[in-house]
Amino acid sequence: MSAALLQAFGMVFEPVTLMAIVGAALFGLFVGAVPGLTATMATALLVPVTFFMPPIPAIAAMVTATAMAIFSGDIPGCLLRIPGTPASAAYTDEAYAMTRKGQAETALGAGLVFSAVGGLFGTVVLILAAPTLAEFALNFSSFEYFWLVLLGLTCAIFITADKPLKGLVTLLLGLLVACVGLGNPAGHPRFTLGNAELMGGIGMIPMMIGMFAISEVIRYVVDTSPPAELVVEKVGNVLKGQWQLARRYPVQILRGSTLGTAVGALPGAGADIAAWMSYAMSKKFSKEPQKFGTGHVEGIVESGAANNSALAGAWIPALVFGIPGDSITAIVIGVLYMKNMNPGPTLFTTNPQNIYAVFLLFILANLVMVPLGLLCIKAAKRILQVPRNVLMPLILLFCLVGTFAINNSIFDVGIMLAAGVIAYVLEANRFPIAPAILGVVLGGMLEENFITSMIKSNGDLTAFFMRPIAAGLAVATLLVWFLPPLLRLVRGRRVAAA
């Protein structure tokens, strides 16, 4: 262990990695602070660059950029009342109300400090939980993996969407996309339409750049809302009073971080859902709920910690099972496969130094967040004035070249365009996108484990419930599906009887 840990230190504190961290941090802070550019988009845009890096700097870049972007999304929320990323949306009104009361410093400082605290909390859970789970997962057979993937996909449908039906639709579409090509247990070319490029399947990276970057560019060009006004001319010392806040709200910080990590670890739900849930929770358990919405810092402390802890939480299932906890880790998993660092429990036994390096990177990213975040707040006015009508064409060009660069294939650019348009249309019609991306990432794994299990049991479906852990996972999956309608039925009966 100590040899591997030392090796991990060596990898992380190499100049290339440190440069990647600083570069990605500045990039992430910028992307997060510009409204309309999300943390997921930051990750998608980083992929073509990380493609040319060794694995550890590549991971370093993605971990750092997302952590920074989730924090800096608070800045325009506070100063313009527009969340920089969806993860800040939950408390944007609150932060803006504080700004109107002349407390912009406290709001921004709380966002920064408790983002770092939440991120570190999530990291500690990741460090403690992932290796234990991995040891446990070493005994899993195809039956357990089948149910685990199905449970993950089920959670993705029921957590992210208020309308599970539409989540199920996008999940099925994602699974169908994963079927294209030769990559199935039988090696039979499916849905290739005679196209040689489709034999290898639909490229995951072009698709994600389309879904998360091109769709945002489309949304920008058809956005008719008027530009927002900056209310603050100068931001003072944001760290003042944060220690007092930490002393006043210890329970809230702990609760937000715990909830955030848990929500992050559930597949399909990421930082944005974590923030909404913990803001609601904060209000519910607060001693002064009437102050919420009027510029009260309590909710910002709690949900600001939650959205950053969700980032680390999402890595737990991603590293241990290869099941992404959110859209960001879905992209990360694609990159890990490209780097031959296939996620799964064996990663912990064969290459523990890589896992330790990931842990160290998370700690480092959350520590450098504070000084770099301070710089970003100082420069906030400049960043918010960057003309987005120049930025968006540049992002488009970068998407075109970056997508082409992965396989040197112009066909991939077509995939990117199609994915971007479809994602835009689906989202405009309130179909959630996260289940689709999980379907694409997990489709192959689900089918492989399903078919392997079927062959092992010679087509006998009861075998899926015979092993104890498999049965437990099966029950959990079926409960998520059938408990809500059953409860509704029972409650309906009771109402009718009364």
Binding site: F52, L165, L168, V169, L172, L173, L175, L176, C179, N184, P185, A186, H188, R190, F191, I214, V217, I218, V221, V222, D223, T224, P387, N389, V390, M392, P393, L394, L396, L397, F398, L400, V401, F404, A405, N408, I410, V413, G414, M416, L417, V421, V425, A428, N429, F431, L446, E447, F450, I451, M454, I455, N458, G459
Partner: protein
């Protein structure tokens, strides 16, 4: 552009039906209970069922939801033009990048998109030239991505 759920439902049923039709021809694997048709077949059934549910839901809500509701941008020629230029420029890149070359294609795309997004012409021109050269240098020279030279093959550097 908001379509009634029923429209999506019909599209999904069509897709599911198409998939079910396509997997009929897939081979069976001798000695195995399941073949390559099973998994996509199950997905297709799922698509048909969810499609049907969406049709029912859309039909019930047709009075409230209508069949098609356009967003604000449709009435704004400026936004429609911007969207058209955006989509056209990606198609243009796919079709023309190879023969025309990366440098001219990228320059034209950036210029057109900047102008339609109301960037001042002089700034747009500067952005198009500088960004094209920087991206070309970064990807072609530093990362060794074989961006096509096209018509500029003779002066390649």
């Amino acid at each position: 552009m908001k379509l009634n759920d029923a429209v999506f439902g019909l599209l999904l049923i069509a897709l599911g039906g198409g998939v079910l039709f396509a997997v009929q021809g897939y081979p069976k694997i001798p000695g195995q209970p399941v073949g390559p048709a099973l998994f996509p077949g199950l997905i297709a059934v799922g698509l048909c069922v969810t499609g049907l549910l969406l049709v029912v839901r859309g039909w019930r809500q047709r009075a409230v939801q209508g069949w098609l509701a356009w967003d604000d941008w449709v009435r704004s020629p400026r936004h429609v033009a911007a969207l058209a230029v955006l989509l056209a420029s990606i198609v243009f890149y796919i079709v023309a990048a190879d023969s025309l070359g990366f440098l001219p294609a990228s320059f034209l795309i950036l210029l057109a998109l900047c102008l339609v997004l109301r960037v001042r012409p002089r700034t747009a021109l500067a952005v198009a030239v500088v960004a094209t050269l920087v991206v070309h240098f970064a990807f072609y020279k530093l990362l060794k991505v074989p961006l096509p030279w096209g018509v500029l093959q003779g002066v390649a550097w």
